[in-house]
């Protein structure tokens, strides 16, 4: 069954939400989804770009009250 794990990168300037996602992807199974929470608008662009480049699936981005929710799926 597909799991969705929250990666809470809010308030993280260093290492930052993308780096937190890279770490989290190592800890989940292929097919699992990760929802990154970020207060950094730049991550809303950076994360989809990296996810596509490395071969995972980018699913969605939504913004709620200053927090971006970026959902990806581990593909390999």
């Amino acid at each position: 069954m597909t799991q969705r794990k929250i990666v809470d990168g809010r308030g993280s300037f260093c290492p930052g939400p993308l780096m937190e996602l890279i770490v989290a992807l190592k800890e989940v199974q292929v097919g699992d989804e990760l929802e990154v929470l970020s207060t950094d608008k730049g991550s809303a662009n950076d994360i989809p770009e990296w996810v596509r480049k490395v071969g995972h699936a980018y699913l969605s981005t939504t913004e709620q009250e200053g927090t971006w929710h970026i959902v990806v799926r581990k593909e390999k």
């Binding site: 993280s12 300037f13 930052g16 780096m19 800890e27 730049g42």
Partner: protein, 377 residues
């Protein structure tokens, strides 16, 4: 009140001393007991390993006897914990000692984990232990030219280490008169040369000025020692003559063996610093899963906050402060210039141009650390 601190690194040592001072009266009257359990009778100044790798510090400068750093009244034992029984409020140590507590602080730190990348441990140099830093120093001394590649794993201890070792290597080879025979290629996991945007903006022109090339979106996949190439998850392949790595890190194995956290990182409340699900268990230093830098300053500021809070719990029954995510990192920009980055959960850093003055302050701090460890600075 029995306070048990597990881990004698920066976080555990500063906290123990902080508490011993704040609660001196209660300690004297026997109302409070502070116990510190560590795996070593030595305390290492870990940032010194960077200097050791390029021959700017010697091993003896990195260590002090742990007992010599501690305030009187702290019960210190070199006896690492093997079993955490959180629901019973006790731990069992390697020697078989059972230690109960009312408040537990876990500060066991992190360790490098190059084994996660095939070929990395065998073919790359690094500097996160005394042995590896000495090995890297000797390798550098025998290196007469070629392509030096810096490759970075995540998460890693000391967010400035990738840039610092790159700039220090440049000056190392410059001093040896080898710059015309050496090229330095820097790689980084995300789409800029450092996770902090303002640090990346500062570092790029520095690299271009020094002739250091760089490649972003580079997450190590494997190292082929026969072909001397490092391959990335993103599909890139970079040849090297000398591979230097800032390897990924993990928390300590004992935590995983006890079913705590994942890869040794413990789920920690970002402002209260308690272990999720436990009001009287706290986590500080590298061991937390808080999304901030794994750095000595993080450990220091967390220990300051927690020290104030535990003292308040002893005296008033409740904590008084929240950790604001404060981090302060020096950034060595070569052998004789440095800058710094200071930030918290709300405010990003704004590093200035490197100066000799900040470098000399960092050199001074390499000695002043021992005052910090004693909880005085």
């Amino acid at each position: 009140m029995r306070i048990l601190i597990v881990g004698g690194g920066t976080a555990g040592t500063i906290l123990a001393n902080n508490l011993a001072r704040r609660l001196a009266h209660e300690l004297k009257e026997g109302k409070v007991h502070i116990t510190l359990l560590s795996a070593s009778d030595k305390h290492m100044y870990q940032p010194g390993l960077l200097y050791l790798a390029v021959g700017r510090m010697t091993p003896d400068e990195l260590y002090r006897d742990q007992a010599s750093l501690l305030e009187p009244g702290i019960h210190f034992h070199v006896d690492p914990v093997e079993h955490f029984k959180l629901d019973e409020k006790q731990v069992t140590t390697k020697s078989g000692r059972m230690v109960g507590y009312d408040i537990l602080v876990i500060a066991t730190g992190s360790r490098m984990y190059p084994e996660g990348i095939p070929g990395l441990a065998e073919h790359a140099e690094t500097f996160y232990t005394e042995a590896s830093a000495l090995k890297m120093f000797k390798r550098l001394q025998s290196f007469e030219g070629g392509k030096v590649v810096i490759a970075v794993g995540v998460p890693h201890k000391c967010p400035m280490a990738p840039l610092e070792i790159t700039f220090m290597l440049h000056d190392y080879f410059k001093d040896r008169g080898l710059l015309d025979k050496v090229s330095i290629h820097y790689t980084y996991p995300i789409n800029r040369v450092h996770s902090l945007e303002n640090v990346a903006k500062w570092a790029v022109p520095e690299m271009e000025r020094l002739g250091i090339t760089y490649e972003t979106f580079f997450n190590m996949k494997e190292v082929d020692g026969d072909k001397k190439v490092v391959r990335s998850e993103e599909g890139s392949e970079v040849p090297y003559d000398l591979l230097i790595t800032i390897p990924a890190h993990r928390g300590m194995e004992v935590l995983e063996k006890n079913g705590l956290g994942q890869n040794g990182w413990l789920p920690t409340h970002r402002t209260r610093l308690n272990l999720e699900g436990y009001d009287h268990v706290y986590v500080i230093g590298d061991t937390t899963n808080i999304p901030i830098s794994k750095a000595g300053s993080t450990a220091h500021f967390e220990a300051d906050t927690l020290g104030e809070n535990i003292a308040a719990i002893v005296r008033m029954g409740a904590p008084v402060r929240e950790y604001d995510g404060k981090v302060f990192c020096f950034i060595e920009a070569g052998k004789d210039r440095a800058t710094y980055a200071m930030f918290n959960y709300q405010t990003p850093p704004d590093p200035k141009s490197p100066t000799r003055a900040v470098h000399w302050f960092k050199v001074a701090y390499n000695k002043l650390y021992w005052v910090s460890a004693r909880g005085l600075l």
